[in-house]
Amino acid sequence: MMVQAKFSALKGIKPREFALRFAFGGLVCVAAGLIAKSFGPAIGGLFLAFPAIFPAGASLVESHEKMHKARAGFDGTRRGRTVASIDSAGAAIGCIGLAGFAIVIWTLLPRWNTYNVFVLASLVWVTLSVGSWMIRKSRVFRR
């Protein structure tokens, strides 16, 4: 399956939706800091992998798909929910990369240069996420 970048999809996003994601993202980052300050870094660290904008993102996926189908004269309710489910399955696969990112930071940060650790962790995230997605999409897992 070919991965495509459709820049025209950005035109469909309303400024309100951007603002919602910005506010959610900012608030969760502040909350993670406040929790770490109150309960220590061990509890605060859990919130670095909190599904912060996931509900808003999945809901927007549903509404965009519904709108897309409505323009063609169909009721896209079921279709919207199916696409949101597929998006969620992708996020679940992405968690493998997220865990890899965290493991690199945890094990190497105290010993290595900060910049190098962040670059390596980001590469590990991309490789594990895309690699896992490709394996999931390969013939082995096709029904």
């Binding site: 900012g26 670095l48 992998a49 968690c95």
Partner: protein
């Protein structure tokens, strides 16, 4: 200029080494920076999720390390590398919990097809249960 209270970067390198060397208490400055950097990074990953097709691939960005990328740099500047590494260790549990959460959302949306936003919010306790259970078990074993 007011000196930051409890700022390790300030202690090590003076005002020039402090990211928040502003004429305000360092904690407020830290949380203001967290909000804006967090909002920008989270929005950037949300844009990437909108651009890419198919949706299962775009979903990978739903589990991007956006909060970690936005906040770990600030954490290192204020509290040092060891503190950030402790947070990253807990982030591994958060990522596993995110996997459980995203998988359950995907499964329910595909099988039952309920409305997306209430479902994703109603299932957030899955993340809390999984992450805190993992943290508690690991803490008990390593104690």
């Amino acid at each position: 200029m007011q000196r930051c209270r409890g700022c390790q970067a300030h202690d090590r390198e003076g005002a020039a080494g402090c990211l928040t060397g502003l004429a305000m208490p360092s904690e407020i400055a830290e949380f203001v920076i967290r909000f804006f950097v967090g909002g920008i990074v989270v929005s950037a990953f949300a844009v990437l999720a909108e651009i890419f097709r198919p949706k299962s691939f775009a979903g990978l960005f739903g589990a991007a390390p956006s909060i970690a990328l936005a906040t770990l740099g600030i954490t290192i500047a204020h509290h040092g590398k060891t503190y950030a590494a402790t947070e990253a260790r807990s982030m591994v549990f958060g990522a596993i919990a995110f996997f459980c959460y995203a998988s359950s959302v995907s499964w329910i949306l595909m099988r039952v097809k309920p409305r997306v936003l209430p479902t994703t919010i109603a299932l957030i306790p899955v993340w809390f249960a999984a992450s805190f259970a993992l943290w508690f078990v690991t803490s008990a074993i390593t104690r």
